[in-house]
């Protein structure tokens, strides 16, 4: 199972509106041995998890070897993911990878054809589904708002369905949620007249209205301008600061960069790999990597044969070197200086999520083509030849 829940500490529970209900879920979860179910029923069919150090955290969501197909088209194949409590987990993958279907399994809107889904340790498609859905706040790729109703009526509808009622308390909560996402000023307007950004803000307000513990965000910045997208991502970060668990789906790597506490890369309905970005980077780039930049790029080519250099790749004035030890850097600088090479910069390379994503994809492609044999493998440098 690709386990994004490893390597993090269990977060604290915030104080949302229905403590009794949540306590009941927690007790039920404690009674359920998720781990034994996972291993006995499904084994470890998926790719290996990138395990990190630290204590095992509580998983709010566990999808275990789930298959799902629609009209003969397989949307999920043995998908296994775990979402850690009070963290932002990002489901990263191209369009059609199965991200939305995974969210639908989590709320119990769909039932897997095979495999198991546990949310708070319970089956969302079973009798506990209502209780689980009450603890979930969902923002869909399309905002799913009623255009003919006002913003307030949309929120009121959600408030009533999620059991907040219709009284003054519910109205206060509506105002607070709308204010939190900067849409209070437009609450009396008909949603049909809203811009895409306003609709997303209202959808976010609706999703947090009942103060859920688990937020499920499916491409929440879809269709937004960069400024609004940044604002929304900031709001997502604020959600975990308030103790919520967030699972966000996106195909935009930049969106996940800096936001994700854990990443699960999915493709073709299968989880490829999961873990903290830093752990994944260490896995795919196990050796120290340094970028050298010189005024004349070709002057750096001599480093490809230098002792301790295990990988070399140059693009223009910058060469990326993989070293057997960080201690090699001063030696290499001395060597270049002695040869009269004008060095502009020496910077440790930190792979971006984009680099990571393409390294993972490249590895999968290699495994697909070679049937699991030799290939690019972990450590392959993205974007060039070795």
């Amino acid at each position: 199972m690709a386990d994004a829940a490893t390597g993090t500490e269990a977060g604290t529970d915030s104080g949302p509106s229905q403590p009794l209900s949540r306590e009941r879920l927690r007790r039920r979860r404690d009674d359920t041995d998720v781990e034994s179910a996972a291993h006995s029923e499904h084994g470890s069919a998926g790719p290996p998890a990138i395990a990190a150090g630290g204590p095992r955290s509580t998983s709010v969501v566990e999808i275990l070897g789930a298959d799902k197909s629609f009209h003969g088209v397989q949307a999920l194949r043995n998908l296994s993911i775990a979402v850690a409590e009070s963290r932002i987990s990002v489901l990263l993958g191209p369009n059609g990878a199965g991200k939305t279907t995974a969210i639908r399994l989590i709320t119990g809107a769909l039932k897997p054809d095979r495999g198991q889904v546990l949310v708070f340790g319970l089956d969302p498609s079973g009798p506990d589904g209502e209780e689980i859905r009450r603890q979930c706040g969902v923002v869909s790729a399309k905002p799913s708002l009623y255009d003919r109703l006002s913003g307030r009526d949309n929120l009121r509808y959600a408030a009533e369905l999620y059991g907040l009622g219709r009284g003054a308390k519910a109205n206060r909560r509506i105002d607070d949620a709308a204010d939190q996402f900067g849409i209070l000023y437009a609450l009396e307007q008909q949603v049909g007249g809203y811009s895409t950004g306003m609709k997303t803000r209202l959808a976010l307000a609706r999703a947090v209205l009942h103060e859920p513990t688990l937020m499920l965000l499916d491409e929440p910045t879809s269709g937004l301008d960069p400024e609004s997208a940044m604002a929304v991502l900031g709001m997502v970060r604020d959600m975990t600061d308030a103790g919520r668990t967030v699972l966000m789906c996106t195909h935009l790597l930049l969106e996940a960069e800096g936001l994700a506490d854990q990443v699960v890369v999915v493709d073709d309905g299968t989880d490829l790999v999961a873990g903290r970005p830093v752990d994944l980077a260490d896995h795919y780039w196990p050796t120290p990597t340094v970028d050298f930049t010189a005024i004349v790029g070709s002057d750096l080519d001599q480093l490809s044969r230098a002792p301790g250099v295990v990988g070399f790749q140059r693009q223009g004035p910058t060469a990326r070197l993989e070293l057997d030890s960080p201690g090699r850097v001063p030696q290499l600088v001395r060597r270049l200086t002695a040869d009269g090479v004008s060095i502009e910069a020496v910077v440790p390379y930190r792979p971006s999520l984009e680099d990571l994503y393409f390294a993972i994809r490249r590895e999968k492609l290699s495994v697909d083509v070679n049937g699991g044999g030799a290939g690019a493998g972990p450590g392959a440098l993205p974007g060039g030849e070795r």
Binding site: H71, P127, S140, S144, Y146, L149, Y157, A158, L161
Partner: protein, 280 residues
């Protein structure tokens, strides 16, 4: 999930779904304006013109033609006709036996139009996703949608027949010597016979709405379903009005049994996967 595993129905949520659907309907002027015109035509305009023609103008030619038509009424119906003058008797017969059953068509048409769009509409607008993820049980959503489709139709019955009663009593009442409409048979018809026919029609239309891929397809297909039902409702309404004794009660009871059976089956048609539009 077995039925016994299901949590009890949360009627508050049923009311919420129904109220929200009705609120949207009120906002949809492009829907209720033509439907109001349809109702006005059947309940107000046509009866007013015809009854005025008979009772006020008193055209001999028109009277003769209508009287010939009244001869085909069964004896049980003819014995009920009241009125002190030929114009009054003709007006009474027209008001009670000929116009009113036609108006059954209006509520059924309105409810069918609302019901056909209700579930597939959620899917088309993408709001089905919101409902599918919500704590509301599929059964509660179904019942809410059913109520939201039933209420406009029955509201039309109440408002339409109130207007119709006023018109009939004002125009024909003086000839009969009293305000006579609704007659006892009409009370039974409005309160006992019409509601189950509306429910029966809607149970089929909602099932259809949950399955088809677009509102246009739902409207087309619901026409095929509702048209025969409208004809049956019309004929039953006529029979109820012509008949006496227990007949209206029996017709209503049979319609209720059929409606409840159909509604029970219809509950299963709304599922979360259908709200999402991904049902296999």
């Amino acid at each position: 999930m077995r039925l016994s595993d299901r949590p009890p129905t949360n009627w508050g949520r049923v009311v919420t779904v129904a109220r929200t659907d009705l609120r949207q309907l009120i906002q949809a002027r492009d829907f209720w304006l033509p439907m109001s015109l349809l109702g006005a035509a059947f309940f107000v305009v046509v009866p007013t013109i015809l009854l005025l023609t008979i009772t006020q103008i008193g055209s001999v030619d028109v009277m003769n033609r209508v009287s010939e038509t009244l001869d085909v009424l069964p004896a049980s119906a003819q014995s009920q006709i009241e009125g002190s003058s030929p114009e009054g008797k003709t007006g009474y017969a027209l008001a009670v036996f000929l116009f009113a059953p036609v108006a059954v068509i209006v509520p059924l048409t309105i409810s069918t139009a609302v019901g056909a769009a209700t579930i597939v509409g959620e899917r088309e607008r993408g709001t089905g996703e919101f409902l599918a993820h919500s704590p509301a049980d599929a059964r509660e959503i179904y019942l809410g949608k059913l109520a939201a489709s039933l209420i406009p139709g029955y509201f039309t019955v109440v408002v339409g027949f109130t207007c119709y009663s006023v018109i009939v009593n004002l125009l024909v009442g003086p000839s009969v010597g009293r305000w006579f409409f609704p007659t006892p048979q009409w009370w039974v018809m409005i309160a006992w016979v019409l509601p189950p026919f509306l429910a029966l029609c809607l149970s089929l239309v909602l099932r259809l709405s949950a399955r088809v891929s677009s509102t246009a397809a739902a409207q087309q297909a619901s026409g095929l379903i509702s048209l025969p039902l409208i004809m049956i409702a019309y004929s039953q309404a006529t029979g109820v009005l012509f008949g006496q004794g227990y007949l209206p009660v029996v017709v209503g009871a049979t319609a209720w049994v059929l409606a409840l059976m159909s509604l029970r089956r219809g509950v299963r048609s709304v599922t979360r996967s259908r709200l999402l539009g991904v049902a296999n």
